[in-house]
């Protein structure tokens, strides 16, 4: 899907205008109308609304006050920082773990496709359901995970109720949930690497480790780029899982931008909520887009 980001490379000659009439522009209209109305109009409106003091009944222009508030308020700022933590750790985790699984699942083991299905299944399950399930599994005092750790003589941490750990615990669950998709995409990348590269490397005496770093990693770059792109977009925008697992707690310690936006909306601070939306927009435009563009640049 990355490659989605790449312009279609075909360099065909312009067809004669006559044939173009068989590809009419009005084919764009149905999609364009819905997208324009339901997505673009609110997006543009949000730039204005984020500059207002907006209540149930009135609104008043207040300039950049909402943004000032956003960056001055420690717990709103916390949401911004956690958004980055979550986006980057989940992307890294999915790539690293996905790569290991992809190598395993392209190697010679029994019933490979069954195993692929098993790890892919969580992708199809409701995120909220997963969040609730893991909240219970991660219960610090009687939960399944810490009970199991106790049998091994390990005192399990307070996964979701320790302020320094909560956001990482949620990220861990997100990695669990999304690693199946990452693995599938990476498998597709691995199988497209011609086998003669590996044969040549073996002849040169490269061991498995060297082969992995010299051949597998560089040549699966497009697939890696796809995984990072998808998980970065998902990770920065994430809401469901955080909401289902911690509601941003304990206190404000696992808030992300999307949960801050929701809480401000709930509290009736519509202008502030929309300012959060615009901030998230800027984070993605300024941070994620360049990364994505860089990862998906045409190989020279």
């Amino acid at each position: 899907m990355t490659l989605l980001l790449r312009r279609t490379a075909s360099q065909r000659v312009q067809k004669a205008p006559s044939i173009d009439s068989f590809y009419p522009f009005w084919f764009y209209i149905p999609a364009g109308v819905v997208y324009g109305l339901m997505f673009l109009v609110p997006t543009f409106a949000s730039f204005y609304f984020s500059l207002t003091h907006w209540t149930l009944f009135d609104q008043r222009f207040i300039g950049l006050d909402n943004f000032r508030e956003f960056f001055a308020e420690p717990f709103l700022l916390r949401g911004l920082i956690n958004t980055f933590i979550f986006g980057f750790t989940t992307s890294a985790g999915k790539v690293a773990l996905g790569m290991m699984l992809a190598v395993l699942l392209t190697s010679n083991i029994y019933l490979r496709s069954l195993l692929r299905s098993v790890i892919f299944f969580p992708v199809l399950v409701s995120t909220i359901g997963i969040g609730i399930t893991f909240t219970v599994l991660m219960e610090p005092h009687q939960g399944v995970i810490n009970t199991a750790l106790q049998y091994m003589g390990i005192q399990g941490p307070r996964w979701l109720t320790s302020p320094s750990l909560a956001i990482y615990s949620v990220a861990l669950v997100e990695i669990w949930r999304g690693v199946g998709l990452a693995t599938l995409i990476l498998i597709a990348g691995l199988v497209s690497i011609p086998t003669d590269y590996y044969e040549a490397a073996r002849l040169d005496g490269a061991n498995a480790w060297q082969q992995f770093w010299r051949i597998t990693v560089p040549l699966s770059r497009p697939a890696v780029a796809t995984v990072i792109t998808l998980s970065l977009i998902d990770g920065l925008r994430t809401f469901d899982l955080v909401w289902a697992m911690t509601r941003g707690g304990p206190g404000f310690s696992s808030d992300v931008l999307a949960s801050v936006i929701y809480k401000q909306y709930q509290a009736g601070f519509y202008g502030l909520s929309t300012a959060g939306n615009v901030t998230l927009f800027l984070v993605i435009a300024v941070v994620a887009l360049p990364i994505v563009a860089y990862l998906n640049r045409e190989e020279s």
Partner: protein, 427 residues
């Protein structure tokens, strides 16, 4: 049909109207309430009793989540013109955020409002209009305690905070959890702060007025800051149960009744839930007001009941008013007591409580007998309440943040809310 004199004319008009329309055209009203077992049971009981007496009207009960999720639903449904005809919601500051004069039906000229005690009318009042009738019992905020533990350790009900902390020391040494914290349900963490307001008022009787005007803050007022410090001191002394972080409200009630923990700072509506789940064991539980600094000024912070309101956009305002007349009658409170038991005083003229109330209710009623020993919570004296208090008290109670910085954070939260309401003096 049982009616009080005051609204008989209204009923007869309605009866005429109904006689004119065929029975097939039942009037249908919707009533939105929250999903707490108490409010849901009370709403259903009221509606069923009313429909039995008024066959031409059908009222459907619709449920919403509680807490800030529910606040948002109520607010946005009012704003978008999609509110039910009737709805149950808090009185006091949360009502003020609904902009009542523009969204709700003013009931100040209704004859049935004569049944509603003035102290309640003041918490559903805005810009000269009166908007609701009480649909549950009044509550106290304070400390539910396990009487068996108290008896076993020979403790006495504390009348000062220091005595309370001394009791906690004894309880901790005996191997019980002195204070039950249930921070998974974040709303439960606010009680030490909110239920301390009686004590704040003893030192600063004008706090609410100055606070509303934007002249006093929690962080800079010694008595108000002390409310936050009390939370911090319980954490620092290590008096919370070990699983305070992941336990929920239900766990808290169980731990209290079964004697795993001795104190549970809570609102007294929890008593109905205890009766529901544990039956007679409720008599192991007692109640006392959150103590302050002086034994001479020991009193209860009171929560006014939630209220039923009529949506201005309803197309059946008269029928809705008739239902409220029923709720605001002695018949209404009888129905509620029959259904969920007596958990506190009703603010309706002539509504008495049965003689055999559960132990903690009896403990609470003592404070109501003496007007010097109870005062409303801040949210019933001021329209301003910040939405993030429960996160802040979780942080203080878990040691993530100290009392002062928590109070400062809450002051900023409050400021946002005040500006949102467009109050003077907050810019």
């Amino acid at each position: 049909m049982k009616t009080t004199k005051s609204y008989r004319p209204l009923v007869s008009i309605l009866a005429l109207m109904m006689a004119g329309s065929a029975m097939a055209n039942d009037v249908r009203l919707d009533l939105l309430t929250d999903n707490s077992p108490n409010s849901l049971a009370a709403a259903n009981a009221l509606v069923n009793a009313y429909m039995e007496e008024n066959p031409g009207v059908r009222i459907e009960v619709e449920v919403r989540p509680g807490g800030s999720e529910g606040d948002n639903i109520v607010r946005s449904r009012l704003a978008t013109g999609s509110m039910s005809d009737l709805f149950f919601y808090n009185s006091g500051s949360l009502l003020q955020a609904l902009n009542p004069s523009r969204t709700l039906v003013d009931l100040s000229n209704e004859p049935f409002m004569d049944n509603v005690l003035p102290s309640f009318q003041s918490v559903v009042e805005a810009n000269g209009g009166i908007y609701g009738v009480p649909a549950e019992a009044g509550m106290g905020g304070g400390i539910l305690y396990n009487r068996d533990i108290y008896a076993e350790l020979g403790l006495e009900v504390p009348t000062t905070w220091d005595q309370f902390m001394d009791n906690n020391t004894v309880i901790a040494e005996a191997g019980y959890a002195p204070v039950i914290g249930t921070f998974r349900d974040t709303w439960t963490s606010q009680l030490f702060v909110l239920a301390d307001y009686f004590n704040v008022m003893q030192e600063d009787p004008d706090f609410h007025a100055e606070f509303t005007a934007g002249n006093r803050t929690f962080a800079e007022s010694t008595p108000a800051l002390r409310s936050f410090e009390r939370m911090q001191s319980v954490h620092e002394a290590g008096y919370f149960n070990t699983n305070y972080d992941s336990a929920g409200y239900e766990d808290g009630l169980r731990m209290l009744v079964e004697g795993e923990g001795a104190h549970y700072p809570m609102l007294t509506f929890a008593i109905s839930a205890i009766v529901e789940t544990f039956g007679d064991q409720v008599d192991n539980v007692g109640f006392f007001a959150q103590p302050g600094d002086s034994p001479d000024a020991n009193g209860l912070t009171v929560w006014m009941p939630g209220s039923l309101y009529i949506n201005q956009d309803s197309s059946h305002i008269d029928e809705a008013k008739d239902f409220l007349a029923f709720v605001a009658s002695t018949r209404g409170c009888e129905v509620i007591i029959d259904e969920i038991g007596a958990s506190g005083p009703f603010l309706i003229e002539g509504c008495g409580l049965p003689d055999d109330v559960p132990q903690p209710v009896a403990d609470m009623l003592v404070y109501f007998e003496d007007p010097e020993r109870n005062a409303p919570a801040l949210e019933f004296l001021s329209p301003v309440k910040g939405p993030s208090l429960e996160q802040i008290t979780v942080e203080i109670g878990s040691g993530i943040r100290d009392a002062r910085s928590g109070a400062e954070l809450y002051d900023r939260d409050v400021r946002r809310q005040a500006r949102q309401l467009g109050l003077d003096g907050w810019n």
